[in-house]
Each structure stands twice: as structure tokens, then as C-alpha cells.
């Protein structure tokens, strides 16, 4: 069996652009997205798969990028919230604020990046979601600390992806 400790080629399509670089096998996808590609909508929370702050879409489904070896998903398509908005767009900030306001003051916000990404990913036409879609989503997506409104997470299994964060 050919196994290597050396840097391996990591080849991905990130937000539509090809990425190819030799990286050590130990590099985690979350770190690659933030540190090599500057995609800071993906954040580090717990670093153990619990909080969802590091959620990215991998081949169309939400995953915790903190538990993925960057080289282990060759040629995968990775999408982060940046894909939906041009840099500097005020809309991303607006939606984030709206999600926070809906949650009230007693929240930790750890779940917001994941919820935001899944909301964007569910918008069928690739356009930013409407206010009604945002409202519906706020009430249907679960949050770990309990700070945010929650209903039965049934809508998760209905979505195009297995679930939303």
C-alpha cells in the first residue's frame, strides 16, 4: 500500500474556483478555508463537531469542516456563505443582524454561521432569500444553547440537504 507522510495534493472547487495546493495530511478543512483562502464566514467554535460554527457545504450538504481532513475529499465542491454575496455586500451583514435580533440578547450566536449558510443554500434560485424565507428559517432551525426559537426539526429532513444546521 502506498501511504505518504509528505504533503499531498489538495484539490477542491471552493465557491466555484479551483483550488490546488500541496498540504500536509494533518491539515483540517476549516483551517484551510480560513487561513489559506480567507473565508472567515466559516468559524472555529468548539472544534469538536458540536457547535456548527464551522459548517460548510461539501458536495451540496452541510458538514462540520473542523472534522474533515482537507486532503480526504479530493475534487469536492466546497461552498461557504461568501459564495452568495460579493465581498463588501451589506446584505450578508443585514441577514446576520436579523438572525441575531430574532434571537434576543441571551444567546451565544455560535450557531449563526451554520444557520445562515443553510438558509442561503436552500434558496432555490441562487438569489439571496426573501424576508419571509428568513423568518421561516429562523423558526425552523435548531440551536444548541437554546437561545433561539425552535420547533420540531422536521423541516430538516424535508430540505434538499439532509438537514439544516
Amino acid at each position: 500500500m502506498n501511504a505518504t507522510r509528505n504533503a499531498c495534493t489538495c484539490s477542491l472547487k471552493v465557491n466555484g474556483a479551483l483550488f490546488r495546493k500541496d498540504v500536509p495530511p494533518t491539515v483540517i478543512l476549516l483551517d484551510l478555508l480560513r487561513e489559506c483562502l480567507g473565508l472567515t464566514s466559516v468559524t472555529q467554535g468548539c472544534d469538536h463537531g458540536h457547535c456548527g460554527a464551522c459548517t460548510a457545504l461539501l458536495d451540496g450538504v452541510p458538514v462540520q469542516s473542523c472534522l474533515v481532513l482537507a486532503i480526504s475529499v479530493p475534487d469536492a465542491e466546497v461552498v461557504t456563505a461568501e459564495a452568495f454575496f460579493p465581498p463588501g455586500s451589506g446584505l450578508l451583514h443585514h441577514i446576520r443582524q436579523r438572525l441575531l435580533t430574532a434571537a434576543g440578547p441571551q444567546v451565544c450566536s455560535a450557531c449563526l454561521p451554520a444557520r445562515l449558510l443553510c438558509l442561503l443554500a436552500q434558496a432555490t434560485d441562487g438569489q439571496p432569500p426573501s424576508p419571509a424565507e428568513i423568518e421561516a428559517f429562523i423558526h425552523a432551525s435548531p440551536c444548541l444553547c437554546g437561545g433561539q426559537a425552535r420547533e420540531e426539526p422536521v423541516s430538516m429532513s424535508r430540505s434538499r440537504h439532509e438537514g439544516v444546521a
Binding site: 462540520q64 429532513s157 438537514g163
Partner: protein, 335 residues
């Protein structure tokens, strides 16, 4: 994370020639986490995701076959599983979070390791991590530890939800290794800790799980997976109960119950099937079933409350199954 050598073979033949000190990487939700914590220190990481083990299909005997590399999410959402094994779908959906289930595979779920805090903390002694070192959990804070199947050397609970439903369904695990293929009942797959807590299952060196066969009996209409936990997402079971009943004219023709979260492996007591067979549901019967399931349970100072809770949860799960699977858990049968 420590450095390791990496490979991604594309044939089973190549995978089972893995060198010593290797670990198979599937979804990575458990292995990568443990490598970050320095609990797992493999010299070789063998990514098995390129193997063609992702299918879910009907079996000629009327059962269902689940590939080892099918994700937990795809398994729970698959029409075959939703229609014929809603108990399994409900158990899978009770575990982790959507993201975790999107990554976690069926083979990885069966082989996931305990969530004992001391096992995760390399600053403490643990017989699973280091054979013979001792057990830091016994006599310490052990609320999440097992009541059943423990030994003086280890009291770690086995954390899987999916495996509890698999035990109730009497699933078979298909293995492949250098010696060829073999099949093991899920109920015999995980080992009790005894004097060797580091031996967690019957996998031989370089063997891997290639699939899971579900028998035709499915408990399609009277089932429940009741999981008591501290949060709806990403919380392991304090106790979970999988119940499958076949009812006829108000009488239990055939029934099975398995427990999770409270035992060192998915807990199944065959005599419960005999106790339920041909009986009408009653408080007395379900009380007796709970007693039989919990026979031999021992608690330590930290987990006595769970021994008091367990019979109540078992009885509630049985009643839920009798009345026809109320949607108290996210389950595949929901619209």
C-alpha cells in the same frame, strides 16, 4: 494532531493489507476528533471512502442491505429504510446533528468509541487507552457511564443510537478481511469490557465492516425510539430505548426491546421476547420487562439517578410503541 501517513486505496484487497497501527477513516466524525485530542495516534490513516460500499438496497429474502459507507443521513432518508425500518431511521435521526449525520457512515457508527470523559482526557488513567493503567471513572464523576455490562476495569457506555435499533432489528454485520468474508450478529459484535476493555468488538486485524443486513421483520407500525438526553442536538443518550412490536388484535405477537446509553454495548436480553410473546400490554407486564432488562444493573456514586430513571423510560417507550409510534422524536414516518 500528530503526523501520520495517508493513503486512499480504491480496492478492498488493498485496504485489508493495511500496516499495523493503521486506522480506517470513513466520515471522520469520531476518528479525527480523537486524533485532535491525541487519544488516537495512528501511524497510518487509510481513507476508505473510495471503496464502493455506499449502496442501500433490498435483499432477496425481503430484508434490506446497508452499505458501510452510506452516510447516516442518506440511510435515514432512504425510501427503503423509511418504509420498512422506521425504527432505524428514528434512532439515526436522534443522534448527532444534521451535519454530523451527513458525514457519519454506517460502518463508522458501529465502530465509534465511547464518550467517557476520562477516555478523552489523556491526563487521566484509562484501561481502554492504555491496557492495565486503571480506570479514572470508577468512583469519580460518572453520571454518563454505564449501569449494565460494566466490570471493575471499565464502566464506559457505548454511545451509538443506531446500534440500539440494529440490536432490536437483529441486524447482521458483514465483515471482510484478509481471511475472507464473514457475518456476525450485531448483538455479538460489541464486546463486554471484562478484563480487556480495550477490546471493543470482534473485528480481527485488518478486517473492516462492509455492510449491514437487516432481516425482513421490520416493526413498521408499532415501534418507538425514545431517547432521553440533555439537548435535542448533539447530545448522547442518558438512556435510550428501541421497541419494536408486532400487534394482532390488541395482543403482542412478537416484541423486541433494546437499550442504549446505559450499557457498555447495545443492550439486548433475549428472554424479553419470550416475556412479551402472546401477552396483552399492561402496566404489570411492562414493569416486569423493565426489571428483566435491567437485571444485574449496578450503579456507582455518580449515576444512581439513571438507574431510577431507566424503568420509567422503558415503560413509556413500550406504551408509545403499543399506541402506534407517536411522533415524539424526529422520525422518518413524519410527513
Amino acid at each position: 494532531m500528530r503526523a501520520f501517513a495517508y493513503s486512499r486505496p480504491v480496492t478492498l484487497g488493498a485496504v485489508v493489507q493495511a500496516p499495523p497501527c493503521s486506522r480506517y477513516l470513513a466520515g471522520g466524525t469520531n476518528l479525527i476528533d480523537l486524533m485532535k485530542a491525541d487519544v488516537e495516534q495512528p501511524e497510518y490513516v487509510i481513507n476508505i471512502k473510495a471503496l464502493p460500499l455506499g449502496d442501500i438496497r433490498p435483499l432477496p429474502d425481503g430484508g434490506g442491505g446497508l452499505g458501510a459507507l452510506a452516510t447516516n443521513a442518506r440511510t435515514a432518508a432512504h425510501p427503503l429504510v423509511r418504509a420498512r425500518y422506521p425504527l432505524l431511521a428514528a434512532a439515526i435521526l436522534a443522534g448527532g446533528s444534521p451535519q454530523v449525520r451527513n458525514m457519519a457512515t454506517n460502518g463508522g457508527n458501529i465502530n465509534q468509541r465511547t464518550r467517557c470523559h476520562y477516555f478523552y482526557d489523556i491526563g487521566t488513567v484509562c484501561n481502554k487507552r492504555e491496557p492495565g493503567a486503571g480506570c479514572a471513572a470508577i468512583g469519580a464523576r460518572n453520571r454518563v457511564h454505564a449501569l449494565l455490562g460494566t466490570s471493575p476495569d471499565c464502566m464506559a457506555a457505548f454511545p451509538s443510537d443506531m446500534c440500539v435499533a440494529l440490536a432490536a432489528l437483529d441486524a447482521r454485520v458483514n465483515l471482510f478481511g484478509p481471511g475472507g468474508a464473514r457475518q456476525v450478529r450485531i448483538r455479538d459484535y460489541h464486546c463486554l469490557p471484562g478484563r480487556t476493555p480495550w477490546v471493543e468488538n470482534v473485528l480481527r486485524r485488518n478486517e473492516l465492516v462492509v455492510g449491514i443486513d437487516l432481516p425482513p421483520v421490520s416493526f413498521g407500525s408499532h415501534y418507538t425510539y425514545l431517547k432521553i438526553r440533555e439537548s435535542r442536538t448533539c447530545a448522547f443518550a442518558i438512556i435510550s430505548v428501541a421497541v419494536g412490536l408486532e400487534m394482532e388484535g390488541g395482543v403482542i405477537r412478537h416484541g423486541r426491546v433494546a437499550l442504549g446509553g446505559v450499557a457498555t454495548r447495545p443492550w439486548y436480553v433475549p428472554a424479553v421476547e419470550d416475556m412479551l410473546r402472546g401477552r396483552s400490554p399492561s402496566a404489570t407486564l411492562f414493569h416486569d420487562v423493565a426489571r428483566l432488562l435491567l437485571h444485574g444493573a449496578v450503579h456507582d456514586q455518580g449515576n444512581a439517578d439513571r438507574l431510577a430513571l431507566a424503568p420509567r423510560v422503558i415503560q413509556r417507550a413500550l406504551w408509545q410503541a403499543v399506541t402506534g409510534s407517536p411522533p415524539c422524536q424526529p422520525c422518518a414516518g413524519m410527513p
